[in-house]
Symmetry: C2
Subunit: 428 residues, 2 copies
């Protein structure tokens, strides 16, 4: 079999403990991991188009960012530390009205994808308008993506007539070129901005197209209280009554839930993405993640967009996830590092319905990152928990996605990063 890439002298993240560590080799053929073995047993005639020496590196599956609004990189730091309604109504909404265009979504999503690759993310679930432009940027840079077109009951970028929002979303899915990395999806903004009719039509379309439906749910206390007043039901119960919740629906945030709602999420098999840093910065609240996990709800991790986070670094997000729940529950055993890594990997992939990624095994997609361990702040190295508690996005040295080397020695190989930075700055 032809090997496109051969990684040698690798320390796989499964090989924890410094003393029993046996260096491995790993081959990639096409998009897949084709062989893994000990360096001691490497075949003498093993060849590959590209050899990567992973000495001093930890080799692990790329991270899965379960929720993002990539194009919102333009609004990173535009308005911080403000009350939610002022932030949204006086800053973010006007900025979106002024700036969001096809061109803006293309360039700002490309910047976001570069930021994610540079910080170890190899798969992102994105949700915005003009999503075909985001998808185009993702294909160009070579990041794996579930790209969800926005649906909202107001005039929106690219969808000036809200009554045609479902139609526009359908057209988006139909027009998206077939691509190994990018799969389409739908994103209903929320139960407070989408009518029951819209949400149900979106779910029907998602079923018809066999794609995921994402929706923001129970992000703030006020939202839940207002929803209760308006609809006589909490958002989760409302969605459940509408028959929206199943294992192809992904509820994002889920901060304000009661025990019964957690049971509903568990019983319907619905996926959840938690975005702790966004919830912290916007002061939305602390999602009951440990309780959801106890009840076996499928929970992945996401950064949210740059208007609220303000970065797309999943290493920082894992660290905040681990530490926030410990201090809020006054329990240092809550959300151990391995669980956070799982949520930023396999568990997140499962929520997104991507079964072939986030695991270093033969036959899996070659979505692989190398972490440079020969660094002051990663010394000493006892085990992979260091990825959660001390590593930063900038420790990612190289990244392979679907068998393509997209970053090597911190240089993105697939796009012109400086051109992208310059293009985004022109939208300011």
């Amino acid at each position: 079999m032809h090997n496109d890439i051969l990684i040698i002298n690798a320390r796989l993240s499964k090989d924890t403990g410094t003393r029993n560590f046996l260096p491995k080799y790993l081959t990639i053929s096409g998009r897949l991991i084709s062989k893994i073995g000990n360096m001691a047993d490497i075949p003498k005639n093993l060849q590959a188009d590209k050899v990567i020496d992973a000495t001093n590196c930890l080799v692990l599956p790329g991270l899965v960012n379960g929720h993002c609004h990539a194009a919102m990189t333009l609004f990173r730091g535009l308005a911080d530390d403000l009350p939610l309604t002022i932030w949204l109504n006086e800053h973010i909404f006007p900025a979106e009205a002024k700036h969001v265009s096809k061109e803006m979504v293309y360039w700002c999503s490309k910047l976001a994808a570069a930021e994610m690759i540079l910080s170890g993310t190899t798969t992102v679930a994105d949700a915005y308008f003009f999503e075909e432009e985001a998808a185009k940027a993702f294909m160009e840079i070579g990041i794996r993506a579930v790209a969800a077109q926005g649906i909202i009951d107001f005039p929106a970028p690219g969808v000036p007539d809200a009554s045609k929002n479902i139609q526009a979303a359908g057209a988006y899915i139909n027009a998206l070129p077939t691509n190994d990395l990018v799969t389409p999806a739908l994103f209903c903004h929320s139960p407070y901005t989408c009518s029951p009719k819209t949400i149900q039509a979106a779910k029907e379309l998602a079923n018809e197209k066999h794609c995921k439906l994402f929706i923001h749910v129970a992000e703030t206390k006020a939202e839940v209280e207002n929803h209760q007043k308006t609809h006589g039901l909490s958002p989760v119960r409302h969605l459940h009554k509408l028959n929206i919740l199943d294992n192809n629906t992904v509820c994002v945030h889920c901060v304000w839930l009661d025990a019964e709602e957690i049971d509903i999420l568990a019983n319907t098999g619905c996926g959840v993405i938690t975005c702790p840093e966004s919830n912290m910065k916007l002061a939305s609240g602390v999602a009951p993640v440990p309780d959801m996990l106890k009840r076996r709800v499928a929970v992945g991790l996401g950064t949210d967009g740059c208007a609220s986070n303000n970065d797309l670094d999943m290493f920082g997000e894992m660290s905040s996830l681990a530490k926030l729940h410990k201090v809020v529950n006054l329990d240092p055993t809550t959300m151990p590092a391995q669980q956070c890594l799982q949520m930023a990997g396999l568990a997140g992939a499962k929520v997104l319905g991507l079964n072939g990624i986030a695991s270093l095994d033969v036959g899996m997609q070659a979505d692989i990152i190398l972490i440079d361990l020969q660094q002051v702040h990663l010394t000493p190295f006892y085990n992979a928990d260091i990825l959660v508690y001390a590593a930063q996005g900038s420790d990612v040295k190289s990244s392979i996605i679907g068998g393509q080397l997209v970053m090597e020695n911190r240089e993105i190989l697939t796009i012109d990063v400086d051109e992208t930075i310059a293009a985004v700055n022109r939208f300011m």
Copy 2:
């Protein structure tokens, strides 16, 4: 006047807003900032031994890490996600008993100092045993430090006879070589590990030597409850009764305080250092920082040691500080970015009694860092809040401390980093 260093094309962190930005120059003569002006007005004959072009960089005062146990880098990631007593009694204390030596403190403190410089810290308040070895490492690498010798009523590294702990601390201060960067101090571990007699003797010694006294106070709820039982008073009231609290005492942590205790801290002029990431990871609790600031308590920011944090990155610490208090108080206006920057700078310096640092003005110590803004995750740049919400330690390009260029283009110039990493790894 002779200029040792000339920085050109600088965007000072005070110059927020991209549109009104006028590039500056800045000269350093000896240890001090000697001139600041607009590039448009730069004298034609201005010369310097070293010219640093700060194009695309934000130039700001180096950060002040108000609390650290530098030598504990060796225990980074040794034991995570454990209940406090198991973590301490079964992992950290035995590891300290086994590993702490003069040589260990020297090398592991040097590693810590390198990590801090690489992430933008130019001043650290350290507290450990064999502190003369930490001080030696700090002088060698050229980081500004308040180096506090540990005092505890148990046998300790270098102080096997606890009855001689004050005597040993006095000898440490007397023996410390005079140095522009490193000043000595004392560190009573806590009111639960130091008797009233020890604490009072330490304070007398601190007064005699005109140095700061640091002490861990009210870190956990259990500590406060036990203290109440044992002494009939909370830790802060106990220290107040012992006449320990004044503006030369620094109380570290202060997580579990009531309103009256905050008033005591405010009225005595006592300094406080908060360590949010350590308090989060160990699940100690959330310090009432916004309340302390409202009552005008002087509060600085610290990372704590690597056994509990597990890194020494003040950028991450600022971000956690800003976001933790927002979510816990459900108020996004709490702890705005500028206040966090202040606490990691001037306010922290004030707590440590260092008046000539943490401000880019003529006559101030030249403790200066350059942040490389030409990066994906720092695009676009609206204002300096980005330092709190998106920047990472690894964005610091160069660092000058007391007029000495200690890091340039991410290379530490004063010590051999690989030798230090190798030395620390030998202690594992």
